[in-house]
């Protein structure tokens, strides 16, 4: 590695270290899992962890790299989750292969979330700072309400969709044939979903997100995006198209969140829209802030640790969430402590280079 670091740029080294770290972690966890050496508690969390990692990494693109505070990230996850579940369940008879169906579901989830991202992004990205945060927050809530009104079923003639805005319609209004199945029952969410998500798919999704985001950040477009974050007026003055680059980052982030949502949705047999509320958005934001704004591998570690932590603390019974909160505060204090920072800088020389490059 030392030999390489002389030749390669420091950012490139960090990027490759991130890839290698994720691949190694996957290989180790997968081997342990296959040999039955992991506890069931941890095995059960592998796929949600993958989803949260992708969520954190993608939100980092908006918050850390584009520099806009978005509080509606769970909304995109929700769009992806429900469209992914509908795609996977309605193709059940057409495509028997589970991995293929999962892949299609992830793509469908990403596309729908990207469409939602574009629709929201065009008006919203004209706002700045607090206003953008408020509007994205509202968007997340609107998505939740809309999905609560959605009743979807499938039979041999295709998809049947009823929009239950008044709250008086029910599954019977779908007009399904006898062979039909109800996929989403409004407030009752998607139930009876076949759980086809796999850890391997989660790993591949993480790798794809990393490749997309890291390449975007290190590209010309990425530099334009970061220029916008650092000084908007200066960036505009050199001819950077503000709307285009902002939208690029925002939509990419939304699409990845959609794919993560689809994976998440297909890991549980029951999914309700209220799961993707404000709290989930904040949870993902906590991952990003704790891992460091703009720091991709930091997001990965923060998402992993903070997903496992509440479960690992089950031994503390009633004090579980209290200890979780204390740990969060301690980590925030520790990472912000100047003495701690100098210590880290001494221990890991690479970090210094990273700071310069943002």
């Amino acid at each position: 590695m030392k030999l390489k670091s002389r030749k390669l740029k420091k950012t490139t080294v960090i990027d490759f270290a991130t890839y290698i770290g994720v691949v190694l972690a996957f290989i180790i966890m997968n081997t342990l899992k296959n040999q039955g050496m992991l506890t069931r508690s941890l095995t059960g969390q592998l796929i949600p962890i993958c989803c949260y990692i992708v969520m954190a990494v993608s939100l980092n693109l908006t918050v850390g790299i584009l520099g806009e505070l978005s509080l509606g990230h769970a909304g995109f996850m929700s769009v992806g989750a429900f469209s992914g579940v509908v795609a996977a369940m309605s193709l059940q008879t057409v495509i028997p292969s589970e991995p293929l169906r999962l892949a299609i579901a992830l793509v469908v989830g990403a596309i729908f979330a990207a469409i939602a991202g574009t629709l929201v992004g065009i008006p919203v990205l004209r706002l700045r700072g607090d206003y953008l945060a408020i509007v994205t927050l509202a968007f997340g809530e609107i998505i939740k309400e809309l999905i609560n009104c959605l009743i979807i079923g499938v039979d041999e003639t295709g998809l049947h969709i009823v929009f239950n805005a008044t709250g008086t319609k029910s599954v019977n209004d779908l007009g399904l044939s006898e062979a039909g199945r109800v996929l989403i029952k409004g407030a009752q969410g998607a139930t009876g979903t076949q759980t086809i998500a796999s850890f391997t798919a989660g790993f591949i999704l993480i790798m794809i997100s990393l490749v997309v985001i890291l390449n975007l950040v290190r590209s010309r477009s990425g530099r334009a995006i970061m220029a916008l974050r650092d000084n908007r007026i200066a960036a505009e003055s050199v001819g950077i198209n503000v709307t285009k680059y902002k939208l690029m980052a925002f939509v990419t982030s939304a699409a990845l969140a959609g794919a993560a949502g689809a994976l998440y949705g297909l890991n549980f047999s029951n999914l309700v829209a209220t799961k993707f509320d404000f709290n989930t958005s904040i949870l993902v934001l906590v991952f990003v802030v704790l891992g460091g704004l703009g720091n991709i591998w930091g997001s990965i570690i923060a998402a992993t640790v903070l997903t496992i932590l509440p479960e690992a603390l089950r031994g503390f019974d009633d004090y579980r969430m209290l200890i979780y909160a204390i740990v969060l505060i301690l980590v925030m204090l520790a990472t912000n402590n100047p003495q701690m920072k100098t210590l880290f800088a001494k221990l890991i020389p690479v970090r210094r280079g990273e700071k310069v490059n943002g």
Binding site: F26, G189, F268, N270, W297, I323
Partner: protein, 406 residues
Amino acid sequence: MKKVISLVMVMAMVMCLMAGCGSTTETADPTEAPAETEAETDTTADTASEGGSFYIGGIGPITGDNAIYGMAVMNGAQIAVDEINAAGGINGYPIEYKFEDDVADGETAVNAYNNLMDWGMQVLVGPVTTGSAISVSAKVYEERVFALTPSASSPDVTAGKDNMFQLCFTDPNQGSGAAVYMGANMADSKVAVIYRNDDAYSQGIRDTFVAEAANQNLEVVYEGTFTEDTATDFSVQLTAAQAAGADVVFLPIYYQPASVILAQANAMGYTPTFFGVDGMDGILTLEGFDTSLAEGVMVLTPFSADAQDELTKTFVAEYNERFGETPNQFAADGYDCVYAIKQAMENAGCTPDMSAEEICNAMVEQFTSMSFSGLTGTDMTWSTAGEVSKMPVAVVIENGVYVSAQ
């Protein structure tokens, strides 16, 4: 500087401990993780080979908004377990009982389930809430663990799973049961329904209630909805219900929003008959709620704490003494679940050295053929679909306690 470094080291060690068996995917130390997991598997192997006791697990919310339900089930089941252990256990073997928190969230419920399986659970009492139960039911079906939920009432919980059973009424039964009761006892009344349309439980009961009300000569004059985020103000819905001339307000919702509705209706001087289902149970033990507001509220529930039979009296006395409050329906459900499992295990002659799957098969056979009498009903039977059949009872709140409506 030394101090700082030692502080850092301590912090690092604490963090490692916290991550615990997690050993984060990123920094997973290959030498450390196997050692820990070995220890885990060792303990489960021990418990199985000792053959000392049955491992019964429970899942439900003991923190968060729905904590009253989870706490009640946990305490009710605990009383049953202690009684059984004191009386010599099941087939001579004692019960080990462990209850895990799920905050009424599907993802956490699955985590809690996996946690219990690591512990060596053989039979599950739970999950308490519907959403969690649907998520966990897919896992128990896949892995052949017998589960009896005390209170998850959606038909989706048991649909298509032969080893998931319910001890409570299903939502359709509650909705139509309430309509039938109103039709028989308050004929020709005008009914307003206020329900939460982003909640599976509430929407499910409303659907069947409205469908059955049409057959029962009940006129539904108004339907008001709210969501989790708008559950703090009901003046719009109440004013509309009053304007529509409703003399019965049907509330197929949980006790928390119901308490707000009762307070606001009282403030605006609107006094219809409020009618709730099992989610309303718990309102009397809600912290900071003035129970005089609940005077005259009717609740459709299978359990009433003032029933005069010996079983109920002992249970209520015991619960009062240990937990300092009158048990609600959920506590009784939790209690009954443990006894129903005991009865089935005794009939089938289960022993603790049987695997969860063997016990599961024996239990499925017993549950579909046996009849069980407990606190929440006599001669309960189960269909092969996992639904229970028993009679609902309507109670009315008088002077802060439930009294049978007739």
